[in-house]
Symmetry: C2
Amino acid sequence: MAKELKNFTKRSDNYSQWYNELVVKADLAEQSAVRGCMVIKPYGYAIWEKMQQTLDGMFKETGVQNAYFPLLIPKSFLCREAEHVEGFAKECAVVTHYRLKNDPDGNGVIVDPAAKLEEELIVRPTSETIIWGTYKNWIHSWRDLPILVNQWANVMRWEMRTRMFLRTAEFLWQEGHCAHATADESQKRTVEMINLYATFAEKYMAMPVIVGVKSETERFAGAINTYTIEALMQDGKALQSGTSHNLGQNFAKAFDVTFVNKENKPELVWANSWGVSTRLMGALIMTHSDDNGLVLPPHLAPIQVVIIPIYKDEEGRKAIAEKVEPLLAELKKKGISVKFDDADNKRPGFKFADYEVKGVPVRLALGQRDLENGTVELMRRDTLEKETVSFDGIANHIENLLEDIQKNLFEKAKKYRDEMTYAVDTYDEFKEQIEKGGFILAHWDGTPETEEKIKNETKATIRCIPLEGDETPGKCMVTGKPSARRVLFARAY
Amino acid sequence: MAKELKNFTKRSDNYSQWYNELVVKADLAEQSAVRGCMVIKPYGYAIWEKMQQTLDGMFKETGVQNAYFPLLIPKSFLCREAEHVEGFAKECAVVTHYRLKNDPDGNGVIVDPAAKLEEELIVRPTSETIIWGTYKNWIHSWRDLPILVNQWANVMRWEMRTRMFLRTAEFLWQEGHCAHATADESQKRTVEMINLYATFAEKYMAMPVIVGVKSETERFAGAINTYTIEALMQDGKALQSGTSHNLGQNFAKAFDVTFVNKENKPELVWANSWGVSTRLMGALIMTHSDDNGLVLPPHLAPIQVVIIPIYKDEEGRKAIAEKVEPLLAELKKKGISVKFDDADNKRPGFKFADYEVKGVPVRLALGQRDLENGTVELMRRDTLEKETVSFDGIANHIENLLEDIQKNLFEKAKKYRDEMTYAVDTYDEFKEQIEKGGFILAHWDGTPETEEKIKNETKATIRCIPLEGDETPGKCMVTGKPSARRVLFARAY
């Protein structure tokens, strides 16, 4: 069993297969009986819960409150904002009936044709429409603004090709929907939230990201600007990890949401929306994990430290348990989540492999000889390095080590990302480089036509126009026309 | 505006209308554009979040882990357990298509007839079927048991007559689904969870409940036994507030989930499920609130203390803010959530009314004269009593007062419940009493026929057979046949 757990496809052999196997072997998720939908298993869900709690606290620090809006959206709502319906209303789950009845032929139940809805309802692919339909009743005066609301919810997009966490028909996410009295305030909130996501990605996920603006083609349907954080996976492909949209007055216009401003004049409300999803789980997995399984940054690990006793008999187990007890208390007091796994139905070798595959950052193993010597064997998951250390003062050592691992994972991922980021000046060079993966910074003339040509010929897309970095103008690598600055290209998930 | 806020229907005039108005005026929820679905507003959601966090912690203390299962359930799954489909599959939202397309006539979008699903999908009314379909792959040996899993999710039941929080088409809930190796263990878990709900109701909601077993007629569809907590609302009607179902081996049988037991023999797995929902919000509101609005028990109040400054000019505001600042810090340190509302665009009178309607347990008001005298005006929401107290030591006073209020609300609700609980011996007496509301303890012969007759003639149902209380046998008030013990009747929500 221990061997079977470790019997992985290697990343270098087949990255995609490695990913699929890891998700299952680390007990994160599995395919369900419903096409394109996954079951998030307890261990995977515990990681998602840590992400949720952290993000939720960060949102609330900025004044955001949670609320809940309906799952089902009337079909007509989706049509109110013209661009939005083009982008979202097509591939989605449609509720047409509200009742089943016994099959007269005795074959279970059938849809009752008499229970047809007058207007079909759509399982929300995103909630701008239903929320702005609601805000109309909430907003009358400038005194009612801003509204800073978020919801944690499930959404559904009928994707044809799905992959666990990265692209599933149903997924979990949060969607923030803010309403402001001025364009300036709304723009500030849009940028504030993308920066919040960047901070979360780097500080908690140990995942370096590039913050930027999407090109017009890649914008959210209905937005006047979309901000994004882009990360680079270990196979050299980019992953869009969070977005924040400045929606201008488009949804206020579509749903007729006006307010009386301080000058006592009616004005359309300014909007933004922003979200991250269980896709972050995919990003987390692909940023750090290795051929031995999942590698988790300590700040998001449900179990940060596991202690495994090695003993021959009940007396031996007891002696170790007694030794470990004060350490458990000390670690918990420090806010470190620790598990003492003295389950009797699994051998230590199996446990070692299991926690390695599950990415637990620090593993302690304690045997009879350790008891005698006052030592403990410690392994850190990020480097797989083992050392035998003194049991005395081990809690402080672990506390520092967890921060070390967190930092090391970020540095390692950043080093990889930086090494895989290339400035390229000619289209030939670009075509050659893109085959090897990575981020490419290149000049582009700013037109959707050139963007599409590049996409068709190389499968690379503009990930973003970075907010920071080199802002020197130049010439488009394809057309030779003027370019305001280098933009970021990659093949992407 | 302050007047308008307080301009309520009285409970004694029209309880139902009082409830509907309160939900809106206290800013808890509102009807949405989707039939039978509500929007939970930030203030209402903050209360639900406190309930969630508390319950989630209590679940985890007993070893439960969270996970997530698909929203949509294949129609055929619902038919696998014969009783279950009768109880649940009828009134539910059915997804029949997965795509919209532009209307060729130019009227927005229409359902694409080419995108019809081979098998219809049902928006989950509850998740036993999809979860036991999944457990089949998780469970092989006794070593895989128990599985103690919960999910926080939205569910949908196409109710014809809806009321906010009490009965809505979509609602939020948690559903726990446990799998055990023995009938005994599963029964113990079933009872453990109903007792956990009772503890939560009494300790946090300050709502006394009666724990009992449902009659066969009132059982969950597919269960061999349903446990319930029943509370009495202020209009004398009962509210079922949480249930825990012993499912025996019914779902294991339906989904063919067996395990190899310690004797190396295959055996069907034992199941239970248990849940509470946003219905608890309705229970909370109707247990404590009064003609002035919401009354919240401190343990679930998002804002426990509000401080309102009364000042003439900016200098006055500043002086109060300075005085209050250390108090805010002190209260926060004690884990008390406090809001200093010095918003300039609302008058103190409006704020008083608003926080009263919203049920904030303790209100402080601080003016110029208080600064001079070293005093503060304090109002407790439960009794509406005002007193002027010394500002020194106010934090400790508030800390004790919050516990007092919590206790007082429970005692008050319990006193009402006890006074409204009647032991009745004849059917005539029963019919007379039931018109006045309350719980009635009466003898019943144990047959569904008598139960139905009572229901048809009086609209009263058996709420439960209490686990505690008088267990003396007697004679059925309707048929005169032997009765094992008194059972609890009421008209119910």
